[in-house]
Symmetry: C2
Subunit: 252 residues, 2 copies
């Protein structure tokens, strides 16, 4: 085996592990008018492209003033809440192609910290530029609102309310389906991938202990739903996993 960190397949377009612009969650903001003919791109002027961030580094910190929205173009980020003094509380993971920081808009402060799970690249869209341009391009603000609402609903409200009532196996099943689906949405393989986070991080996010989580990985492996080898996951039977998740139809 080589020393390559990931065995992910490349996305539909662009370089391996890097998401292409038109698969990126920030695309509707970077390119608010992309209909035939018109070409207003904020990307050229405002977006700071491909900034590197090393594993463990903070992209922004909880409570810091809200200045920019980001998109992960490669790698992965965890969102951490430290308000509970003693231990960190992981409130979400941001995958390659997904946006983060949007939720800072309401109180004008980031509600959580963003920490790189592995060496990553991000694009930065300063919020000031966004507002300035929004006056000329109303659709921009609309795109932003849509993004916010979608995120609030999909990522937080539904998922968290479900979590509160699901048992350990259902939580892990739902989590894996969720990751797989999100990868698919960004043009990555939904069937096979490397988990960017540790077992501890998953356990933290799902409100379980790492021992319980480990046993569950073993159980899902043995039941034939997935193949697990360390962080490498292969989805063998998504339908079975969906049943195990206790979710109605399509996991958010």
């Amino acid at each position: 085996m080589t020393t390559r960190i990931t065995t992910d397949r490349p996305p539909r377009r662009g370089q391996a592990n890097h998401v292409a612009c038109d698969d990126c969650g920030l695309f509707p903001l970077c390119n608010p008018i992309n209909i035939s003919g018109h070409e207003l791109s904020m990307a050229e002027e405002f977006v700071e492209r491909r900034q590197p961030i090393r594993a463990g580094e903070y992209l922004f910190s909880e409570g810091a003033p809200f200045t920019a929205i980001y998109a992960v173009t490669s790698g992965a980020i965890k969102l951490v809440n430290n308000s509970d003094e003693d231990e960190e509380l992981i409130v979400g993971f941001v995958l390659s192609g997904e946006a983060l920081g949007q939720t800072g808009i309401y109180p004008q402060r980031y509600p959580c910290s963003a920490i790189a799970l592995e060496d990553s690249f991000v694009c930065e869209l300063p919020f000031g530029s966004l507002l300035e341009t929004a006056n000329q391009v109303p659709v921009l603000l609309n795109n932003f609102q849509t993004m916010l609402h979608k995120e609030n609903f999909d990522l937080y409200r539904q998922f968290a309310m479900l979590m509160a009532r699901k048992n350990a196996e259902q939580r892990l099943s739902a989590f894996l389906l969720n990751l797989s689906l999100r990868r698919q949405e960004r043009g990555f393989s939904a069937e096979e991938f490397q988990l960017p986070m540790s077992r501890d991080d998953i356990a933290n996010f799902l409100g379980l202990r790492k021992e319980t989580l480990s046993r569950l990985f073993t159980k899902l492996h043995q039941s034939g739903s997935i193949a697990v080898r360390g962080k490498h996951i292969r989805m063998l039977n998504a339908e079975q996993l969906r049943k195990a998740s206790g979710l109605p139809s399509s996991a958010s």
Copy 2:
């Protein structure tokens, strides 16, 4: 003991059990400009005031087109998700003075059903009117966005993420503190009140069994945190309850 249903104290202003307009969550939308001198009130023209709704009746149904935002002026409403075919999933409670229906804006459909827990009154603010007026009064839209973000953060994101990791006692403690705080915000007594919902509803919302919940009420009662007699609650030691909730400082 008399046959009066509730022993709630009256709010700061207005009739007993009815919230006054300026304690109402819809106030910033009904009266977007209430600064000295100006008086633009949507209330006079558009708001349908004090519509009665009987216990068990639907105010709106999950999936129905989004037409209006409501405020509960007296009584209480439960928000129910029926997407899980077999059983209902209670995703929240709306108390007197609070708004509901706002979250229908994104997909233009109500994401859950609203069912009266007891005979109640609501005000209705048609969304069409809101949009029309918003063109003339930009601050209106801003108030609306603020309301949405606040709700998404307070009511759902934080609360639900906490729930997923809290044990039964912590959940119930947090729930009671949350109710108490919300009553206080609307000018009702935070120390003593009637629960508008059944034990089954609370258990459903908190992801617990009613037997577990019942034991916990007994436990909190015996520990001196609260006094319970059926649906009547008296908060005896909020600080103790806060500790039991495992929440950092002020429960949302």
